[in-house]
Symmetry: C2
Subunit: 321 residues, 2 copies
């Protein structure tokens, strides 16, 4: 991607993954209407998006079902109500969040509309993540492993995790900048580390970025240019805190003619804008810049946002103390 | 800047230029209160910012003085009312916009609080820009040349302009992404072109980015890593349309201990947030993404914003037609 002819051309191996229901669900506790989800599904199909993440499959033993919308639990039945038999080119994913999932909630692939299980894990949970990957693969699913919060992990631990994953059936390993604290030139170095293992063990790489420093899109296309193939995005960047790489930015950048921005703009006008008007709040703001710069989880910035505070200087002092 | 030791260190030659009054003035027709401007000046001094652009010095023969705030005309008297004798490390700049200026409005430097004249020009206006540069230099000012809208210019014309500037006393040549349509890996190539001439003729390079694709900060630090020394930013990214690289992002990135973010966050809380609450609108939005992607001037997107429209899909069709 870094040479001029590659800039004008495109790479067939690139896959776009819509994570709106899942990462966006963290903003509104997964209370999306069926109308919204059906329109999102149709938009992804029409726009040529490759994968749609249908939410988390969280364990009902861990979370109270009455306190969240259904896309936190994303059962096969819920998914079928939206997609029927999904006779489209769009593939479907769900996320298993290690420690908050139950592998018994995952039926055999042959009985499920889901194609892909994305296993999200902190680096100290790798054995449980690998157990989940192996279980899902055995049941017939494609799998990814999304190692979170790597900006606060040691390089040596990341390498150990990559080595552990090399022996598993996982197909795609994600670089996840959970705190939105990585700069593009650092991203290039992170990709180098991941790529060494990916190339050696036949794995594909993915990128999931956060927008704390207004770099989610920039880091995504940096990684793409460095050889990362699976690119996460969300409509209007909807996602936890500062949100994610926005779908409209990403599809505008990608040159494969199978991608089509028109349905995206329509969905933004008709659905995402409505969420905004209804008072659902996400996206870049100063408080998220501060947690990103300080390489911290955005939870304090999310609380600052909920409290409708704008005393950024006081917030900065609170975080430093 | 691209090697790990340089990432941890800093480059003395980097200068941060606050363009809030000038590019931000395009948002509110330069109607900043004296209280705002004094606080901005003090913040720049306290934050260690190197230059503050005090607005345009537009010709009153071209613009009706009654229709704009004073920072469109930025007389020496107006500036002195804010800065007195400016006994600080902060240097002061004004912008001469070719075709909308009058060189007779520029007194000898010895009589003026201004240190730097920034000459903004489209590429077809180079001879008039050079005339202005030479006049300002002769009067004792430092000068920059900001060649605008380069994403719609031919490389051969850009090279011709750089060759013309090499024979002038101009000290800094700016890369200006007026339409916010350049990607970081393209920026790296643009810098290569400029750097060839800058190195040969002893000029310094600057970068002025727009945020149409959420890349103003990313392009600024890309250029910085490629050897560009003068970095434009505005508080909260305030600037025409999608706005600029934000000061808070940039100072968070730069490692020189002379820069200090605390006064910046305070100014954002006390002054920039107030502008927002008063209904002054700027910053990234879908309509600006669309003009950026299509490499167009943002004027239609600005009108779309003023009309409070959110039918992005219709806007996209209008632009394509």
């Amino acid at each position: 991607m870094k040479e001029i002819d590659n800039l004008l051309g495109f790479r067939e191996s690139i896959k776009v993954v819509d994570a709106t229901l899942r990462d966006g669900g963290l903003v509104n506790d997964f209370y999306f209407t069926d109308d919204f989800v059906k329109a999102l599904y149709k938009t992804n199909v029409d726009a040529g998006v490759d994968y749609m993440e249908m939410g988390y499959r969280a364990s009902k033993k861990v979370f109270d079902e009455s306190k969240f919308g259904k896309w936190k639990f994303s059962s096969d039945e819920h998914i079928r109500e939206i997609v029927g038999d999904n006779n489209t080119n769009l593939k479907l994913a769900i996320m298993a969040d290690i420690g908050r999932h139950d592998k018994n909630d995952f039926d055999e692939k042959v009985n499920s509309p889901v194609d892909l299980v994305r296993v999200a894990t902190y680096i100290h949970q790798m054995p449980e993540a690998i157990d989940m990957i192996e279980d899902a693969a055995k049941k017939g699913y494609h799998t990814t492993c999304n190692i979170m919060a790597i900006s606060s992990a040691q390089e040596s631990d990341i390498k150990a995790a990559l080595r552990m994953l090399s022996d598993t059936p996982v197909e795609v390993i994600y670089i996840v900048d959970s705190y939105g604290s990585i700069y593009p030139e650092e991203m290039a170095r992170v990709v180098d580390i991941y790529k060494e293992y990916a190339d050696k063990y036949g794995k594909t790489l993915g990128i999931h970025a956060h927008n704390n420093q207004q770099l989610a899109f920039a880091n995504t296309i940096e990684a793409c240019g460095d050889g990362v193939d699976w690119l996460d995005a969300t409509y209007m960047g909807m996602g936890r805190g500062a949100g994610n790489c926005s779908m409209e930015n990403l599809l505008g950048f990608l040159k494969n003619p199978k991608y089509n921005s028109n349905p995206v703009y329509k969905f933004l006008s008709q659905y995402m804008q409505k969420l905004r008007e209804d008072g659902v709040v996400w996206g870049y703001d100063i408080q998220y810049l501060i947690t990103g710069l300080l390489n911290q989880h955005p939870r304090m910035a999310i609380q600052f946002t909920k409290d409708k505070r704008t005393d950024y200087d006081e917030f900065y002092k609170e975080i430093l103390n």
